[in-house]
């Protein structure tokens, strides 16, 4: 009983990403124990679940940073199971990292430009030896086409950074190590956008942000979605998940325990138990149902 709710009718016949039966074990622990996940073009799917539920491990498997012990991943019509991350990125699947892995010594602009790497004409020839040498020659000679491409990209970087208002633009030439945590997360998202991904994986984009910053990020993601960007989102702030998602997948203990429309998932008893916490959640009425845990005496309040 993995999916207590019917999948929304919107699920396209050919999903952009389809992962089946993913399993990943670490020593005695099974971090991901048979997860299916699919996302159609234009969808925003959120993956929620407590820390340690296997969300980031699943992201690592999909983005090629880690190989599944079992299962398959299909992206944009091609099997990418076990493919290295650079190949996955070139195919158009790009991610951010939970703790904000920016290139510390690169400027904000250069960080974002690295995101556009897969779009550069110079990197296209993939033949061994000849490809890299041609790339080197283009980099050193810099014909007008290369210069024009670079200038256009730099202009685009400013446009992307403008999404974040005045947060990053004034710091465009500062090295990333000097940025605040929230700004690093923004740089990461800008870098991912510069790749023009077909599928964008966001791993807790609002971690370490306060309420104002979170609200700002929510608007940004909503705008991306409105533009048609397909997004797979890991997020803890349920409020945000409820507002943004077309579909929500709930993981717990390495398994998918529910999947469906945000409202349906939110009211699923299994989800409330696993994710929102066993027993009392807020209302006294529910707490009353859960006799053993509700009447814990407070020894100090005597």
């Amino acid at each position: 009983m993995t999916a207590p709710f019917p999948l929304p009718a919107a699920a396209a016949p050919h999903p952009l990403l389809e992962a089946r039966g993913l399993v990943r074990r670490f020593g005695g622990l099974t971090a991901v124990a048979g997860i299916d996940l699919s996302i159609a073009a234009g969808e925003l799917v959120s993956v929620i679940g407590p820390n340690g539920a296997g969300k980031t491990t699943a992201f690592n498997l999909i983005s090629g940073l880690d190989r599944p012990d079992e299962g398959s991943i299909c992206f944009d019509g091609a099997d990418i199971t076990g493919r290295p991350p650079e190949a996955v990125a070139v195919a158009g699947l790009v991610r951010t990292f939970q703790h904000g892995r920016v290139f510390a010594n690169l400027s904000v602009a250069d960080n974002v430009l690295v995101g556009a790497h897969r779009r550069l004409t110079a990197v296209r020839p993939a033949w061994p030896v000849v490809g890299p040498l041609a790339e080197l020659a283009l980099a050193l000679i810099r014909p007008p086409s290369v210069k024009a491409e670079e200038a256009a990209l730099r202009e685009e970087v400013r446009e992307i950074l403008a999404i974040f208002g005045e947060r990053l633009l004034p710091r465009i030439d500062q090295p990333a190590y000097s940025l605040s945590y929230a700004n690093r997360r923004r740089v990461e998202i800008a870098r991912a956008l510069a790749a023009r991904p077909k599928l964008l994986l966001l791993d807790e984009p609002t971690a370490g942000m306060n309420q104002t910053e979170t609200a700002e990020m929510l608007e940004i993601i909503a705008a991306l979605k409105a533009r048609g960007q397909t997004i797979l989102l890991i997020e803890h702030k349920l409020d945000m998940v409820m507002r943004l998602s077309d579909r929500v997948v709930v993981l717990d203990d390495g398994r998918k325990i529910a999947e469906g429309l945000p409202l349906a998932v939110r009211n699923d008893p299994a989800v409330i138990e696993a994710y929102l916490g066993h027993g009392a959640v807020g209302s006294a009425a529910r707490a009353g149902d859960d006799a053993p845990s509700a009447e814990q005496p407070l020894p100090l309040s005597a």
Binding site: G28, Y181, G208, P299
Partner: protein, 244 residues
């Protein structure tokens, strides 16, 4: 209960990692025998709070008191000796060592051999499952069993307060219940608990008081029962689930 000195107190802590500030005037305390929860999302500054208490990171400003003694100038072993036990995030057992060796590492700062032996028996009485696996390598245990060993290990130091970093992380609901029950039992023996959690309702269920940490600041504090029904908590963590 008499107004005794708190076992653990953080006063106006500022912490920096390079140019990035992690704490902004953070203050909190844990009374003797209390269970206190610190709630906050990823990257809110929770883990840094743990490091500050253990002296692994030193604050730029403010003071940390364990049993009324400032620990700013103390090294971690000395702080542990004051009675601070730890259950780290993701348990962090010594995987290639036996369960017994892990438990004895918990008593590392103690030198009373007889007392350690007695405590080992006492702790194993509390954790019968652990007793069955004393000679097994800790890394081969399941997640829930590892969590039990981590708690047993913390108890071996005869702590006055145990700081726990997400003790239910990555556990199945069944194990979550067990772990919470054990935390209550440990607390019942007079050990104060300072618990960092992401799961608000779960943490507040067993806590006496709670603090909410957001981007390095305490934004809310109070009795657990009050926090549980506080609309702001619901909004921040539960997405207004109960409103539906």
């Amino acid at each position: 209960m008499s107004e005794t000195q708190p076992i653990l107190a953080l006063k106006d802590i500022d912490t920096f990692y390079g140019p990035v500030q992690a704490h902004f005037g953070l203050s909190l305390h844990v009374g003797q025998g209390e269970i206190v929860s610190l709630l906050g999302g990823n990257a809110s500054g929770k883990s840094t709070t743990m490091k500050i208490i253990l002296g692994l990171v030193k604050p730029a400003a403010g003071d940390v008191l364990v049993g009324g003694i400032s620990t700013l100038k103390l090294k971690t072993p000395e702080i542990v000796r004051l009675g601070v036990g730890t259950v780290p995030e993701a348990r962090r057992l010594f995987g290639a060592m036996s369960v017994r060796e892990n438990l004895l590492m918990g008593a590392f700062v103690r030198n009373d051999k007889a007392g350690i032996t007695a405590d080992l028996d006492r702790v194993l009485g509390l954790f019968p499952r652990v007793a069955q696996r004393l000679d097994q390598q800790a890394g081969t245990l399941s997640g829930g069993e590892q969590q039990m060993v981590a708690m047993a290990r913390a108890l071996m130091g005869r702590p006055r307060v145990i700081i726990m970093d997400e003790p239910t992380m990555g556990l199945s609901p069944l194990w979550v219940d067990r772990v919470l029950e054990l935390i209550r039992q440990i607390n019942g023996q007079g050990v104060a608990i300072f618990m960092v959690e992401q799961n608000a309702s779960l943490a507040l269920q067993i806590a006496h008081r709670g603090y909410v940490l957001q981007t390095g600041r305490i934004v809310l504090e109070g009795r657990a029962a009050d926090l549980l029904t506080d609309a702001r908590i619901r909004d921040a963590y539960l997405g207004g689930a109960e409103a539906a």
